[in-house]
Assembly symmetry: C2
Homo-oligomer: 481 residues x 2
Amino acid sequence: MEKDKNYHMDIEKFRKHGKQVIDWLADYYENIEDYPVLSQVSPNEIRDSLPDHPPLEGETFDDILKDVSNIIVKGITHWQSPNFFAYFPANTSGPSILGELLSAGFGVQGMLWSTSPACTELETHVMNWLAEALQLPKKFFSNSFGGGVIEDSASSAALCALLAARERQVNNCSSDYHDKLSRCTVYISNQTHSSLKKACIIAGIGDDNIRYIPVNKNFSMQSDELLSKIRQDRLNKFIPTFVCGTVGTTSSLAIDPILKIGNICKTENVWFHIDAAMAGSAAICPEYRYLLNGIELADSFSFNPHKWLFTNFDCNCFYVANKNELIKALSVNPEYLKNKYSDSKDVIDYRDWQIPLGRRFRALKLWFVIRYYGLNGLRYHVKKHIEITGQLEELIKNDSEYELISPVSLNLICFRHKKDDDFNKILLDKLNKSGKIFMSHTILNDKYYLRLCIGQTNTKLSHVKKAWDLITRTAKRLTGS
Amino acid sequence: MEKDKNYHMDIEKFRKHGKQVIDWLADYYENIEDYPVLSQVSPNEIRDSLPDHPPLEGETFDDILKDVSNIIVKGITHWQSPNFFAYFPANTSGPSILGELLSAGFGVQGMLWSTSPACTELETHVMNWLAEALQLPKKFFSNSFGGGVIEDSASSAALCALLAARERQVNNCSSDYHDKLSRCTVYISNQTHSSLKKACIIAGIGDDNIRYIPVNKNFSMQSDELLSKIRQDRLNKFIPTFVCGTVGTTSSLAIDPILKIGNICKTENVWFHIDAAMAGSAAICPEYRYLLNGIELADSFSFNPHKWLFTNFDCNCFYVANKNELIKALSVNPEYLKNKYSDSKDVIDYRDWQIPLGRRFRALKLWFVIRYYGLNGLRYHVKKHIEITGQLEELIKNDSEYELISPVSLNLICFRHKKDDDFNKILLDKLNKSGKIFMSHTILNDKYYLRLCIGQTNTKLSHVKKAWDLITRTAKRLTGS
């Protein structure tokens, strides 16, 4: 930032306004529980408060910040509120926010090692740190055949894994490419995240070549059905290409039988991807490491520190067992990006591990979080969330008006009032409109369930007790009892 | 951030450390010219300075920030230095950094309108503002059939455009999907950005179905060759699907004949995407709006405020003329994301406009930038960069030892010492190793050229003059003259 008056924010102003924003955010967090968790605005309400045309002349930073307070905040659904229980959390923390700030300030591109070596090397390093924390098999560490990379999301990680799997079966330059592509099949369950279906569509696998394997009563994939479907497909000249097993499905946090699926994939030579988007974070605690049993059989694995490890979105950690398979699927190498380091193969160029070319310095925030909390701090909070969930489970079990999906998995509870679906829909709507909590819903066994997920950075038992109290009181008012 | 001592950074500490980071960044910008622009570290040098294992116990923020100074900075290539002339810029600014900070602090997800209405509505709004600034045709505004969305990069925008184009020709659920997919062809030039080839591979178009249309002596696509190739393909039962025209190629900032290509695509019913990654920003100046002449014939268009509009990466602005075509290609709708607003169709759910599901509040930084600078401020700086480039062009033209690609386009100069390729390679290496400037290279007409791009936020004429002085002095030293 230069010091002329030619429209730029000069350095002294940056100091001043930067500190204003820090204070603004601190105040925001101090008062976050005063805002309705779910934004209560109607469609277009925010846009109607904004001028139709962009300003010709620059405005003051104070005016802009005032509009954040007066216009933007009311259109925010407060994902960082301790009373946010919807979907999966997207939790963050002080160290993470400040890591993101530094990354924005550096403004470097990490597409190649040489475009900012620290961006690549810190990423490789913290990915190894997390591999160690998760007790991942050796093959996922960067000093083996595999390695880790930060993607924006589990959706993108799954797409990259699928593309590598596709390339393993069908080289995109071969003359029989489309014939083979038309026979590539993918295996997921109806509980698998929707991004896997989207990945199949993107990658030209096509809707018809997705096989939905049935689940058991715990909503986890039936591995015998998987095996028989793969064999049947092979008999029919299909090319079984990719299986996604989930550790912690979105609907109910169900766990697919990773070890069994892994063995099938090994025998059948099918790429095995594990999507552990939220629940993977729990595996940093030795007592929950069992969630990943069988991961030694996987070709790729991803989880999101931006869900449950206090690191702001976007931060998905994606590991592959054989980096060459990934690079083969994603590398294109134009002249203007050639450089001696890439040629030497001594370095990692992460552009070849992802869909886009450009990339931010995302490792900084993850490094800040791991160092500021230490593994013990991270484990403490993850375990605390699971413990609180157990306490809520007891409360629900002891209330005869409610039923829940059992066993409760980690930090997600799916429950419903024993009255009908419509009642539960009205109840949820009422609760979310109160602004005091925000939950979402799902459908399991053809019934409508409320989903309450406990993973927000600052959620304590007191918040959950208050939430339960609100739920039961609201239901009572609705039933007139 | 709660106030307990359980590992979290409490609010008062956040205030303190946040202000430390702001001051750290301000100091960094104050001294940025003291660092070697291109990082001088060797492979693994950064990693070797980091502990092998993650810490069990948390560390102090001061210790972490100290390591940023002592370890990370030397591995940074300083993209924000005014002496950075390589690749394309990834420029940023004070208002943008602070917008990104606020976005990290809010930590909201914008996948659905309902998950944070302000995130969606502000995005729609600033995309319209920019459409107005660029004088885009009505169809790209959100109140028409089309609209704009922020993607992470021009690569992702191109992929989304290609997927919509593919879906227009071949429905992914149809029984003849793979037969048709195998006949879909894509038309680019050998100057088109490598991400287009990558998109074709990702989308299952396959390498063989990419047609490289020859370019003329100015490196722009020959539209007559395009037309004849499309017609020939159609005769051969191919399905011409997608053409990418570039406004400002990566190698030389060449401009494809948009109007001619557009007319061909219209007649031939082929999706026409315009990639104006860097040069598109120039079109906010009325005197450079001509760059986009013919855009009224395009189906989609993208440019990167994160390159040349003082907004930090990632911020690609992607416009489509018919949003339904995009949504049809990218929408999957699982139960757990259903909500009455999405059902009503009154709102935009941007998850259906992009590859991943989750999304950050990227509109904030763009809104901050447009408001803080005003259109006049943005225009002032873009024009200044082009003016400075013209001044450098004069200097090079007046030096008989150098030749350049003419006409020089906007803010990029490709030039070479008249000695051979090897000399230019050595010269570039020497210059970049000096740490005083950073340039990159390309190959044009089979010759090695140095690329000097002027778009960094704080680059002034004085920096460019100093760079030219360094280049000529270094070359003289190398030739011994």
